[in-house]
């Protein structure tokens, strides 16, 4: 299945969850300072593993950076 991960097309297994996409983005899901949105909807960390992905979805994975 192909999804857009932080704006880039990425191939993931058909049964992949949002947690898998977060890991594929290179984020450590256990760390504070990481968040994810699926098609514009912010998904709580506790729901990542149970949220199945579908072909063509937009996944955004963000982390804390320095900023004023």
């Amino acid at each position: 299945m192909r999804v857009a991960l932080n704006g880039e097309p990425v191939e993931l297994p058909d049964e992949a969850s949002l947690a898998d996409a977060v890991a594929a983005a290179g984020a450590d899901p256990k760390r504070r300072g990481v968040a994810a949105a699926l098609d514009g909807e912010v998904v709580p960390k506790a729901d990542w593993a149970g949220r199945a992905l579908r072909e063509g979805q937009d996944v955004e994975v963000v982390r804390a950076v320095q900023g004023g």
Binding site: R32, V42, A64, V65, Q66, G68
Partner: protein
């Protein structure tokens, strides 16, 4: 000093926002530092208890995390919505920040263009209303406009944060009269946010009656960030103390401090 006086003294020294008390009246941005190591020493030197952080797409190649430093220093995170141009983007970013940092505090920034980075008043009020209604503790970066500040307070914001001048300009407080009027009208803390260039700017903000100062570039981009951090700490404390002490009125002409009486005739 009796315990009651002591308690009053402590209350006067503390900054209260959204039901929380801070010993330091300085909020510091984490942007613009040359390294995390310099940032850590500078943040420590400011004496701050709360720092702003931003959210960006994950970069697997990045080394070290701003949060490691923030946690090591025991500081509170104030996530921002920097880079958002619409209420919709800012609201989404605030929701991401709530998940990422486990806090409903948000420094709300909705800017109008990338040259001035000035707030877009219409989008800002829209986002503030939505986020406050959703339970966020909203600290909006706003123009130095007393009417807009009042609208943001009415929208449920926990503080108002007028700019002194554009972000990163270091141009100081361009309209001290408006900042005074904002302070006069406000029922929530007023934090001077953006435009601070050097220590005297931070002192002026406090002398005008602001409850605190939020700064980033003036420290992070200073030649010696750690030394400037220490200067800013003293500047805010001095301005706050001077405001409380009550300055003398400005006069056009001199007023002698030495009595004329008893002057010998020579």
């Amino acid at each position: 000093m009796g315990s009651e006086e002591l308690a009053q003294d402590r209350a006067a020294a503390a900054l209260e926002i959204g039901g929380r008390t801070f010993g330091s009246r300085l909020i510091v941005g984490t942007g613009g530092f040359r390294s995390l190591e310099v940032m850590e020493r500078a943040l420590e030197a400011t004496g701050t208890e709360m720092v702003t952080v931003a959210l960006r797409r994950v970069d697997p190649l990045s080394q070290g995390s701003v949060l490691d430093v923030v946690d090591r220093l025991g500081l509170r995170c104030l996530p921002n919505t920097a880079g958002c141009y619409t209420a919709r983007d800012a609201i989404q970013t605030a929701k991401l920040a709530r998940e990422a940092f486990e806090t409903d505090w948000i420094k709300l920034e909705v800017i109008g263009d990338d040259r001035t980075l000035l707030p877009d008043a219409v989008e800002l009020v829209d986002a503030a209303e939505t986020l406050a209604a959703d339970g966020f503790t909203v600290l909006p970066y706003t123009n130095d406009d007393p009417i807009l500040a009042a609208r943001l307070e009415a929208a449920g914001c926990a503080a108002v944060m007028p700019l002194g001048s554009p972000i990163g300009s270091g141009a100081g407080i361009r309209n001290p009269y408006n900042v005074r009027i904002i302070v006069e009208n406000a029922g929530v803390p007023v934090i001077l946010d953006a435009g601070i260039g050097t220590a005297s700017d931070a002192t002026l903000a406090m002398e005008l009656g602001c409850s605190g100062v939020l700064l980033a570039s003036s420290v992070s981009r200073a030649k010696d960030p750690v030394a400037m951090a220490s200067a800013m700490r003293k500047a805010v404390e001095a301005g706050h103390a001077a405001r409380a002490a009550g300055r003398i009125p400005r006069r056009l002409h001199a007023e002698a401090s030495t009595p004329d009486e008893g002057l010998p005739e020579l």
